[in-house]
């Protein structure tokens, strides 16, 4: 019974609120960098409330079940990941065998839901957006999985997140070693692609594809997609912070240090977003399967040596 309470609390409420705060920080910093005033504080929440009040239009030849259920698939996937990560961070003894693999598996669901939604709408622009997203997922999943091996190796060949947190609490954080730095950079780039931010926002390229894979969505279905993106803005840097910086502590001076680490990841994401143009999908594929994969292989080799 209490699992449902945890699911609603950690899965939806915490991730939505913190995700909305991070999205506002992102828009405000971008506006300030361009010498403008940005939107007010509650803008992401107001966008969601407005979208829930609009009409829902389904295109005529689209398959209704896939069209309406793909946002929900993505939302449920990210909510499960958020619940798991929050619970294991607060109570590291609740970890179970193989929960790292569960988390990696459920993290594919948001990208999959966008692909399904784009293919289910009967629109050629949406199918181009979906096919580009498929190529992008193929590109970044490979170095992502390779770089996740580094924390597994360094914390004694364990695939339980609670034991990775325990290892980092006992020794230093994984990001302070050479292989840790390299895999930190690799996972930062993969997260940039997973979140759909410049330079990898190929699937939702606004001026080129008129909205990309979500072009036919309106009203509450679009609101669920935007909510999913907000929650991903919280969950993915949180995942990085758990794997490489030891998670979020709540007591003592460790609280300030871990919060600064979390903010550092967000600042890096915003800086990369504001200083780069958008890549084409073949350039992104070559980038991820070329330098980034080689970097992650070097990181894994260094981790086996103990560096």
């Amino acid at each position: 019974m209490e699992m449902i309470l945890y699911f609603i609390l950690f899965g939806f409420i915490v991730s939505t609120l913190v995700g909305a705060l991070i999205s506002w920080i992102d828009r405000k910093v971008t506006a300030r960098l361009q010498y403008r005033v940005g939107p007010p504080l509650l803008q992401p929440i107001i966008d969601l409330v407005k979208l829930f009040g609009k009409e829902l239009l389904i295109p005529k030849g689209a398959s209704k079940i896939t069209f309406l259920s793909s946002p929900i698939i993505g939302l449920v996937g990210i909510a499960i990941v958020s619940t798991l990560l929050c619970m294991i961070n607060i109570w590291p003894e609740k970890t179970f065998f193989g929960d790292l693999i569960v988390v990696i598996y459920f993290l594919i669901l948001p990208s999959l839901s966008i692909i399904l939604g784009g293919i289910a709408s009967k629109n050629p622009l949406a199918s181009i957006g979906s096919s580009r997203e498929i190529k992008l997922v193929l590109a970044y999943e490979l170095p992502f999985i390779l770089a996740i091996i580094v924390p597994i190796l360094k914390s004694g060949l364990t695939i339980q997140i609670g034991q990775i947190i325990g290892y980092q609490a006992a020794n230093q954080a994984i990001a302070w070693s050479l292989s840790g730095v390299l895999s930190f950079i690799v996972i930062l780039l993969c997260i940039q692609a997973k979140l759909g931010l410049v330079p990898f926002d190929i699937a939702e390229a606004e001026t080129e594809l008129a909205g990309g894979a979500v072009i036919e969505y309106s009203g509450p279905a679009l609101a669920i997609f935007k909510l999913m993106k907000l929650m991903m803005l919280f969950v993915l840097p949180f995942f990085m912070s758990i794997m490489f910086l030891g998670g979020l502590n709540f007591t003592g001076v460790g609280a300030v240090k871990s919060l600064l680490g979390f903010l550092l990841i967000i600042v890096l994401i915003i800086v990369i977003r504001n200083t780069n143009p958008r890549l084409r999908v073949d350039q992104a594929l070559r980038f991820f399967w070329g330098p980034v994969t080689i970097l992650s292989i070097i990181a894994v080799i260094l981790a086996t040596r103990g560096l």
Binding site: A31, Q34, V37, I215, S218, L222
Partner: protein, 145 residues
């Protein structure tokens, strides 16, 4: 005022449709995004697909080829929607009133809520026009009560 309408007025997403204009009004509309007249502080964003939009901004005198397409775009927009006509050409076709290719003005094809005159109107005029639309909706809600 209901919370739906409050949220609509605080975050209107703008879709830009040009029906055969000389592009001056389009440039002035894009000027509104620049740092001097920043409209993102009101929550307005220039959006790519009509199905995500709350405000439909039309520029240009309406050519014959464009009339069925304007009707289709207006039907695709999810309600509630506000239509803004910008520039002399969409109000009354301006200097092209005797042209062979522009038979009717814009408000004979789709219902228009706000008219912004000027050739081209300054960005301050465009922002004032959209603000007047918001005020008009607020007043009409109050009068209904």
């Amino acid at each position: 005022m209901s919370i739906k309408l409050k949220a609509l007025l605080k975050s209107p997403w703008v879709f830009h449709l040009s029906t055969g204009s000389c592009n001056n009004c389009d440039i002035e509309l894009l000027d509104c995004l620049t740092p001097r007249f920043d409209i993102e502080r009101f929550g307005m964003v220039l959006i790519g697909s009509i199905k995500h939009a709350d405000v439909l901004v039309c520029t240009g005198s309406v050519t014959r080829k464009c009339i069925p397409r304007i009707k289709e775009v207006y039907e695709l927009a999810p309600r509630p929607i506000i239509v803004v006509a910008i520039g002399e050409c969409s109000l009354s076709r301006g200097m092209f009133i005797d042209s062979y290719n522009c038979p009717v003005p814009l408000d004979k094809i789709i219902p228009v809520d706000v008219y912004v005159p000027g050739c081209p109107p300054k960005p301050e005029a465009i922002i004032a026009g959209v603000t007047k639309a918001i005020e008009k909706i607020r007043k009409s809600i109050k009068e209904k009560k």
